[in-house]
């Protein structure tokens, strides 16, 4: 989901800029393959690498573990504090790369993890990093609900014997293991004297490759940490600039003022890459994040599986991805709704190679078989009522609304009367999507490291609440006991074979029952320029999520090399 609450004024600035500097006119590069290889140096460069995020001013509160904290949404916290493991979202089946933890061993049902800390790591104030720091960082999350968005109410006992940390969970965490890997670790010797919820951590003592040099709300400067345990960073100075909104950052990226960041750039190939095709890149990471058209399974017309199926057959996903998503969000091809390549290993044999396609005649056949008729052009359901429904999403979420319009056109090809109706964002959040008071509406899903989140978010009976009561997921109110049991099995299974069997059941129901339509995948995307530094994740070597705002930033920053010229 992307939000476009930018003032019309700022949007117009970019339009002006775009026309003013669209001199190049040559075709944008088709991929990264034809970019020249750059000579690199192994000496530290004093050039500044400027990172930008469109989040407005930074706030003078450097607490990195409070949800929504400024230092994490800007990203500089991830160059200073590090996570237990590095996870590559594009290859979810690869084992995680040890980082602050040398290894993490789970018991069979994933209710207990034994964490072995890396030896020889020091905090940037010179103190040793120990198992106590890990235990403490977990304990404060357990003790303070405010700091615990990842495992609410699910921590069990947290103990340490000095060399390892054992953390228990009240339920199996197979699908959430990656959340544990990504937790940032903070120094106990500093934090234990403070209230971890209100502590502002202005000094930012961490283990990461960089340390804080200066902070202003407009710009945060970091310099390399000379006592860093890993590969010493070759980036001489890192600057995180505050950009007020999307157009502001787009301008900075296209002019080269910022060299790494993430902002949705409509028509990015002409607006961004064409400005400097040799150096400018936009790369998508992997993961299981998708946007879903939730269908209200409890009300007409979507309470009839035949109509859901028929709609699924007339939605032009290629057009949605290219037009509404400006080619930024990759098209979903598999009938299982799984993004590829991340999901390749999770597609059941029976669905391998089966792709979604537009088939109006086939859809009409499905409807005819189910007893639908046509009155002229208008579709009439078996009860004799004309089929009509409303597609709704918040005003200003232009990509969603454009996608809805394309879906509506597909429905009209069937003879259904589909209207797109934008609502106020607050109303949508608080009275529409969560209460199930809609016919069809787009919403995102949690990413996760397995397809579990995607399917659970759409069709898990465990999240089912009756219409009119606020739901956290399963907004379409789909209910099938077999699916609910299989999703629970997947979480608690102790072998891969059991998990795949459970997933097979879920996937079969997803394909046959069509509880919702996955319209595109929404991987982590980032823009960067290789003018000064190179070594970012590329399409050929997607070694990490390419965004600067995640624990992977520490990994990427140690891989960057100065360009020689």
């Amino acid at each position: 989901m992307r939000k476009f609450t930018t003032v019309a004024a700022s949007a117009a600035v970019v339009a002006l800029l775009a026309t003013a500097c669209s001199g190049g006119g040559e075709d944008p590069a088709d991929g990264d393959g034809d970019k020249p290889t750059q000579a690199t140096s192994n000496e530290r460069s004093d050039k500044v690498l400027t990172v930008g995020m469109p989040n407005g001013e930074a706030s003078a509160n450097q607490n990195p573990i409070a949800p929504g904290a400024g230092s994490t949404s800007f990203g500089y916290a991830y160059a200073i504090y590090e996570s237990l493991m590095q996870v590559n979202e594009i290859k979810p089946n690869d084992p995680p790369t040890p980082w602050l933890a040398e290894k993490i061993e789970w018991n069979d049902d994933y209710t207990e993890a034994v964490i072995t800390p890396r030896a020889g790591v020091k905090w940037s104030d010179g103190e040793d990093f120990t198992a106590d720091d890990i235990a403490y960082s977990l304990q404060i999350r357990k003790d303070n609900d405010e700091l615990n968005p990842d495992f609410p109410g699910q921590y069990g006992d947290i103990t340490t014997d000095g060399s390892t940390v054992t953390v228990g969970f009240t339920s199996g965490q197979y699908v959430n293991a990656v959340k544990l890997y990504k937790l940032l670790i903070v120094p106990k010797h500093i934090w234990e004297n403070e209230d971890p919820v209100t502590y502002t951590a202005d000094d930012m003592i961490g283990t990461g490759p960089f340390t804080l040099k200066s902070f202003t709300p407009q710009s945060v400067t970091l310099v390399p940490n000379d006592s860093y345990w890993g590969e010493k960073p070759l980036v001489g100075e890192l600057r995180y600039d505050a950009f007020k909104d999307n157009p502001g950052l787009t301008t900075a990226l296209t002019s080269g003022e910022a060299q790494w960041g993430w902002v949705f750039i409509p028509d990015f190939e002409n607006t961004f890459i064409a400005q400097d095709p040799d150096h400018f890149n936009q790369v998508a990471g992997g993961g299981f994040g998708v946007d879903v058209l939730y269908l209200n399974n409890e009300e007409k017309p979507f309470n009839d599986v035949a109509f859901r199926k028929a709609l699924n057959m007339v939605v032009d996903r290629a057009d949605i991805s290219a037009t509404a998503g400006y080619g930024v969000w990759p098209q979903i091809k598999s009938v299982t709704g799984l993004p590829q390549p991340s999901g390749d290993d999770f597609i059941m044999d029976e669905y391998k190679g089966q792709e979604l396609s537009v088939d109006v005649d086939g859809a009409k056949q499905v409807l005819t078989d189910a007893g639908y008729t046509w009155d002229g052009d208008a579709l009439v359901d078996p009860d004799g009522e004309k089929v009509s429904f409303t597609l709704t999403n918040p005003q200003g979420w232009t990509d969603y609304l454009d996608a809805l319009a394309i879906i509506g056109e597909g429905a009209k090809a069937l003879g259904a009367d589909a209207k797109v109706e934008p609502v106020v964002q607050d109303t949508w959040f608080n009275q529409v999507i969560n209460l199930g008071d809609f016919d069809a509406s787009l919403h995102w899903t949690d990413g996760g490291s397995t397809p579990w989140n995607l399917y659970s978010n759409i069709m898990d009976g465990a999240s089912y609440v009756p219409q009119g009561e606020p739901a956290n997921w399963n907004f379409g109110r789909y209910q099938d006991d077999e699916v609910t049991a299989a999703l629970a099995d997947f979480k608690s299974a102790t072998s891969d074979a059991d998990r795949m069997a459970a997933l097979g059941t879920v996937q079969k129901h997803f394909v046959e029952d069509v509880p919702g339509l996955v319209i595109w995948s929404r991987p982590a995307v980032a823009q960067y320029s290789t003018v000064n530094y190179t070594g970012f994740p590329t399409a050929e070597d997607p070694y990490a999520n390419p965004q600067p705002t995640g624990p992977q930033a520490a990994l990427i920053l140690t891989k960057l090399k100065p360009t020689a010229d």
Binding site: K3, P149, S219, P394, D446
Partner: protein
Amino acid sequence: MRFFVRRTIFYVITFWAAMTINFFIPRVMPGDPVTALIAANQGKISPDAIEAITKLFGLDENTTLWQQYVNYWTQLFHGNLGISFSGREPVVDILARSLPWTIGLVGIATIISFTIGTLAGVAIGWRRGTRADILLPISTFFSTVPYFWLALVVIALFAVRLGWFPASGSYNRSMVPNLSWEFAGSVIYYGTLPALTIIITSVSGWILGMRNMMVTVSSDDYVTVAQAKGLPERKVMFGYAARNAILPQLSSFALSLGFIVGGTLVMETVFSYQGIGYQLLKATAAKDYPLMQGCFLVITVAVLLANVIADFAYGVLDPRTRQEG
């Protein structure tokens, strides 16, 4: 004396009413800060985190509206405006670092605009019917052009096409703010375009007001007498005519000072200037009640103070306003 006491009581009541409205407005606005944060994070925060965030913002406590209202006043008297939701730093700190930028830029621009406008008004009013009158329709044209459109044109021309000035920001971000000529230069360089647009759009009001007063005053007897005495033209213009014509200008200047704080939201948005208007916009988008209240408080107090100054200054300058029925 009774005049001043009555005015004081009036302002105390106005202040109380403004502060009370300030308390209730954010609370009756639709939406809540938790979903606003989730929306702003583009799906990176799962709805499962709602509970944690609600607690972090302190919104889980069940206090009555009356209790909140009492707390609000207690905090106000302690100079404590609460902690901003989105940044989790004290609202007072955010206001303290934003206010100087707004007051500095818009204040200076207003003073420049007032000075230029008043002087031009004196000149045009004194020699009415000459070619200088052409200034009036031109400046009025610029004041009626929508501000954001003018600002965009100025950015497109001077920042993008000619590259003379930066398009956004309030100083070169690679600098750490300090008391040096280099930094001051950067602030002036970045402030030029925003200040210029404010002056262009506001100067016509000053010209028009001053010119019309000059026209009225210059036909008064004491001006004719001064001219008959053979005093130099400049002396008559400034010492006799302008001196009396400026009274209403001064009171509207005092009033416009009050709007400096609140009236620049569009400028700060278009130029990404880090002032109080930008903070208010950000707070509204994030449903950040404490920050919103803080911004409203500053704006209300500024307008009230300006009114007080204008009111009392006029009372001192013009005895007629003090007379009781």
